[in-house]
Structure formats: structure tokens, C-alpha cells
């Protein structure tokens, strides 16, 4: 499951922009501008829709919501605990 989530998130990021050289799972996609204030709403909805979860304001402001690795952990936890 972790890998499915990871590939889905990476796919969304790649559709937004070519990933910078050296960008890895710990890379900050907000700071890099890959997901910007214009793209964030659709990004969240795509994650919510694909994994049937709900992403809250607090989630968006958390450190996890900045890297692929963090998002995979956040989404996995929501799926496992049935927080939707």
C-alpha cells in the first residue's frame, strides 16, 4: 500500500512540474513551488478522492504535508485508522 500511495503522490507531482534534480522522497514540494497556492486545492481533492480520506487544515499545515515521505505516512495512518 505504501508504494501505491507513493507512486500516486509522485504521479501528481510530476503532472504539476518536472521534479528538480536531486528531488527525493524527503524533498519539500511546497518550498520548491511544485504544489503552489494555485494547485493545492486540486492536489488535496485528488488525494481525498483516491484514498477516501479527509485532509484537514491541521494536516495541511503539518510538516508531513511537505514531502512525499510525510504524505505517505499521513495517508497510510488515515487509511489504517479509518479516519475519513
Amino acid at each position: 500500500m505504501h508504494n501505491d500511495i507513493r507512486l500516486f503522490v509522485l504521479g501528481l507531482l510530476e503532472k504539476k512540474s518536472r521534479l528538480p534534480k536531486g528531488f527525493d522522497d524527503a524533498g519539500d514540494f511546497i518550498k520548491a513551488g511544485i504544489i503552489d497556492s494555485m494547485g493545492i486545492i486540486k492536489f488535496i481533492l485528488e488525494l481525498e478522492s483516491r484514498f477516501d480520506i479527509e485532509i484537514t487544515e491541521a494536516d495541511i499545515e503539518s510538516e508531513k504535508f511537505r514531502s512525499v515521505q510525510g504524505l505517505v505516512e499521513m495517508i497510510s495512518l488515515k487509511i489504517a485508522t479509518g479516519v475519513a
Binding site: 510530476e14 518536472r18 503552489d36 494555485m38 478522492s49
Partner: protein, 535 residues
């Protein structure tokens, strides 16, 4: 005359052929005189003038020998990249027309845009083409029967069209391929997609002459030379970034192109590349000013010689703040996609006339007209109209719409304004139904069509909602079929699937009815008044 004009006309072969397009020859002239100079940087990849010219010549020749002809329309779905820059010059050389699209458009919207703009060939990336041409998309791209090109990788899996790889196409062309010089000044170079009131795409024609004139106007207005390093931090499917890339390539300078904007990345980019000139969207400048306020010591922006705010007007307070933060020449410009720059406010004037958007740019005539198209005296408010050499070439195959936006030789901006006794223009508001978010024009009709198609919605109206960061965002008032059972979350997923990222509504207001006048006409200003001031 600026430095560019001198360098263009020392090449007499172009001087005697006045109808020949000037963009590609001017670029190639710089490539001959300064082959080793850095032409463009984009996210760690660089090309000097010789390398870029070689790519352009080979690509142009490869396109020609693969059935791409002068006048053909090429759909372009590319992120900011050196390939996109090269493709603009290929189009300028070959006389083809680029139809650049927002990379976040959903496949159905791309299909519609291709139909309206009569796209024959497509250039994109493997990732984006794979999503567009998926076998299960239900879309038939048979009308786009020319060349489909991926600039980076081979596509995995089956697709509804065969896609060639750029590298493979270039293999057949010698390294010393020469420019084709096939374009004329009157040829369309870019079709920029906008929307009409019905939500249908309404492409704006920008000819080679218009694009050249617009770049020259900026070069002269802001005194740009080959010494300048010009930063573009907006997407190349917008005319602003196209102009910002052409400016250095037509002056022998250096283009610095960011693939995505963030205020931190922008400041790092300025410092790292010693950027001297840029035009930024006002909402970007606001974010940059905030970053500078919190982290001023870490930001070296001393290289900046001139900075211009564009696309949406700055609040007076932000303008005043920026004037103190940027210790360089500062301008604000007012304009529209159809006319480029209409007025210019320089930093000195800005201090005296903070509320103004400046005086008419050189060779632009600005007037204020009343309801019967009569020219209004100084101080009276009316519609802003402009006469300019930077005028667009009309809406593609819509002479009716083109005629409707012209008042003689003057373009009707759809904006309200007034002039003062010194010729300074004041912007007072918009009459066109449009939302400007982060510098991007969003058409409410595009949003309403999608939301009204949702079975649980009886009717809806999209309108502009003020936003700290983006200036405005999309708000929607919805009348559900059955209010108690209405599921907003499902509607948001519906919008997610059918609208691009910049079109996603941020604010939803579920109402019993929309405000309408006695004739049943929607009074959108009432929605704005009721909701857009409450937060």
C-alpha cells in the same frame, strides 16, 4: 532607439525584406555574434546561444521534413523548459502557430481547445501525453492527425496516437542545419486561449509582428540591454513569460526561467543568477515582500536593476511597501492580453500618485469613453480604451467578437477608469465578468458550466472572492435541487475531475436562490456584496 534596433538593422538581408518576420532572424543574429554567451537557464540546465540556435535549427528542419508546414497549428502542453523556449523560436522560424495550454487542464478541456484552435500537431512531455492519450479516456484525437511529439521520454504502454520522441526526430538532421526563415510578419505565432461568456474557448491571435513589437516596447520602456539577465517566473503558456523570454533573446541577453514559483525559490534564483530585470505578477510580489520582511538578511537582491509589477493591480499599501523594499527602479504596468501594456507607473511617479496605474506607455493612446462611445473629459469615469501597435490580431475565427471589442482603432478593455490633468490613469473596476487569481484570468462561465452539470445543482454563479495571497479566488453560490440532502464534498470531487487547478472553487455558498432582477437577469454584484465582504 534602443540597442536592439541597431543590432537588427545591421543585417541588411533582413532590412530589404520588410515583410519577413523578425523574431527568429534577430535571435540568430545574436547567436552568430555571441555564440558562447549564456542564452537561457532553466532549473539547472543551460544553453548558450550557439547550442540553442543549433537546437532550434535542427528542430525546425525536423518538423518541416515530418510534414509540419507554415501556418499549421501546434498544441503545446509543456512545463517551463529549454525545449519550450526553443519551440517558440522554431515556430518563429518555421511560421507555425503555437497553441500553448495550461498543463493542468483536464483531457476533455484540452480536446475542446484543440478542436477550437484547429490543432494539427502536438508537443508535450511523456507524463502529460500519457494522461491525455490513455486508451480509457474516451477521447478521440483523430482530428489532430499530424505529428505528436514527446520532448523527453518514450511513453510507456498503449495510447490512442503514435508519439515520436524529439531526440529521435533530431537524429536525422545534421548539426549544421540552417534556419528556414519561412515566416512572415503577419503570420500568427501564438494563439492564447481565453474564454467567452458562454465558456467556449476564445483564442487570441498574436502575430509575429505583435509579439516582436511587444518585446521591443518593453525593451525600450525599461531600457533593457544585452547586459541584462531577465527572470521569467510564470508559466510560458502565458504571454507574460513568453515576452520575458523573448526580451533577452532579442537583445543578446540571458533568460533565467523558473519552472515553478515560490517566493523563496524566486529570491534564491535572483541571488544565484544575479538577475537584473523581471516583470512579476503582483500576487508574486506580495509574497516576495512578505518573505523579505521575515528573512531580509538572507536575501541578496542587490543585482536587481528594474522590477515591474503586472497582471493585476497592487494595493496601494503593498505598492508603498515594495517601493521601500526594492532599492531599484520599480514600475507597475496596466494592460490586457489583447493589448499588452497600456500604461506605466514608474517608481518616482508612484510616490506622488500612489493610486494611479501611470501614464500611457510610449506609442499607446489611452482614452476614457462614455456609454455612447463619446470621449469623456478629464476626471470623469468611463471605460478605458487603448490604441496601440501591440494590439492583438483578433479572436481566432470570431470576427464578430473582435469587432465587438473594438471602438474604431481603440480596444475596449472592459475596465472602468479615469484620467487626471497630468495624464495619469486611475483604474476603478472591471465591467467584464472575470476573476483574476494569481495573475491568471478565470472565466466564471467555465466554472458554472461544470457545476450546473452536476445533477444535485439547480443553478449556480461563480464570482470573485478577495484573497490575501492570490488577490482573488473563485467563489460559487449554489442553489441545490434538495438543500437538506446536498453533499458539497461530492460536488468538490466533481469539480476536481472536470476543472483545472486554477479553476477550482475555494468558497462555496449554498443558497435558496440567486439574486435576480425583475427580468430574471442574475445580479452578480449582489453576490459579491453579500458574500465577498464577509469572509
Amino acid at each position: 532607439m534602443g540597442p536592439l534596433i541597431g543590432s537588427v538593422f545591421q543585417y541588411t538581408e533582413y532590412d530589404v525584406m520588410s515583410s519577413m518576420a523578425k523574431i527568429a532572424p534577430t535571435f540568430f543574429a545574436h547567436a552568430r555574434s555571441t555564440p558562447d554567451k549564456q542564452a537561457v537557464w532553466c532549473e539547472g540546465v543551460t544553453a548558450n546561444y550557439q547550442e540553442l540556435a543549433q537546437l532550434v535549427c535542427r528542430w525546425s528542419n525536423a518538423m518541416a521534413s515530418n510534414g509540419v508546414k507554415r501556418g499549421d497549428h501546434i498544441g503545446v502542453i509543456l512545463p517551463n523548459s529549454i525545449e519550450f523556449v526553443a519551440l517558440m523560436l522554431v515556430a518563429a522560424d518555421l511560421g507555425v502557430v503555437l497553441v500553448p495550454l495550461n498543463t493542468s487542464l483536464i483531457p476533455a478541456a484540452v480536446h475542446r481547445a484543440f478542436e477550437v484552435a484547429e490543432v494539427k500537431h502536438v508537443v508535450s512531455t511523456a507524463v502529460l501525453l500519457q494522461a491525455l492519450l490513455a486508451l480509457n479516456s474516451g477521447l478521440n484525437f483523430s482530428m489532430v492527425d499530424g505529428l505528436w511529439l514527446s520532448v523527453d521520454e518514450v511513453i510507456d504502454g498503449d495510447t490512442v496516437r503514435d508519439v515520436r520522441l524529439l531526440a529521435e526526430l533530431l537524429q536525422d538532421v545534421p548539426l549544421d542545419a540552417q534556419p528556414l526563415n519561412a515566416a512572415l510578419e503577419e503570420d500568427a505565432l501564438i494563439l492564447t486561449m481565453t474564454s467567452g461568456s458562454t465558456g467556449d474557448p476564445k483564442p487570441i491571435i498574436l502575430t509575429q509582428r505583435t509579439k516582436f513589437n511587444r518585446a521591443i516596447a518593453a525593451i525600450e520602456l525599461y531600457g533593457i540591454s544585452e547586459q541584462d539577465k531577465t527572470l521569467a517566473a510564470t508559466p510560458l503558456y502565458h504571454s507574460l513569460a513568453e515576452r520575458l523570454v523573448l526580451i533577452p533573446l532579442l537583445t543578446g541577453g540571458t533568460s533565467v526561467l523558473m519552472s515553478k514559483f515560490s517566493s523563496i525559490a524566486w529570491l534564491q534564483c535572483v541571488a544565484e543568477h544575479a538577475v537584473t530585470f523581471t516583470i512579476a505578477v503582483s500576487s508574486q510580489l506580495k509574497q516576495i515582500a512578505e518573505e523579505l520582511a521575515s528573512n531580509a538578511d538572507a536575501c541578496d537582491i542587490a543585482s536587481l536593476r528594474c522590477i515591474v509589477s503586472s497582471s493585476a493591480l497592487l494595493d496601494s499599501s503593498v505598492k508603498a511597501d515594495l517601493l521601500t523594499k526594492f532599492d531599484c527602479e520599480f514600475h507597475e504596468c496596466y494592460g490586457a492580453s489583447e493589448i499588452a501594456i497600456a500604461s506605466n507607473l514608474d517608481g518616482v511617479s508612484a510616490r506622488a500618485k500612489l493610486q494611479s496605474v501611470g501614464i500611457a506607455a510610449p506609442d499607446v493612446d489611452v482614452k476614457i469613453i462614455g456609454k455612447n462611445d463619446e470621449v469623456l473629459p478629464i476626471g470623469l469615469a468611463g471605460e478605458i480604451v487603448c490604441k496601440t501597435a501591440m494590439l492583438f490580431g483578433g479572436y481566432y475565427k470570431r470576427p464578430d467578437l473582435t469587432q465587438a471589442v473594438m471602438c474604431g482603432e481603440y480596444f475596449r478593455t472592459g475596465d472602468m477608469g479615469k484620467l487626471d490633468e497630468d495624464g495619469f490613469l486611475y483604474y476603478l473596476g472591471r465591467t467584464k465578468d472575470i476573476i483574476i487569481s494569481g495573475g491568471i484570468n478565470i472565466y466564471p462561465a467555465d466554472i458554472e458550466v461544470v457545476i450546473n452539470a452536476y445533477a444535485s445543482v439547480m443553478e449556480s454563479a461563480a464570482f470573485a472572492f478577495p484573497d490575501e495571497r492570490l488577490g482573488e479566488v473563485v467563489a460559487v453560490a449554489i442553489v441545490p435541487v434538495n438543500k437538506p440532502e446536498f453533499d458539497l464534498r461530492q460536488l468538490r470531487f466533481h469539480c476536481c475531475e472536470r476543472l483545472a487547478d486554477f479553476q477550482q472553487p475555494r468558497k462555496f455558498f449554498v443558497v435558496d436562490e440567486l439574486p435576480k432582477n425583475g427580468m430574471g437577469k442574475l445580479m452578480k454584484f449582489q453576490l459579491v456584496k453579500t458574500f465577498a465582504t464577509k469572509g
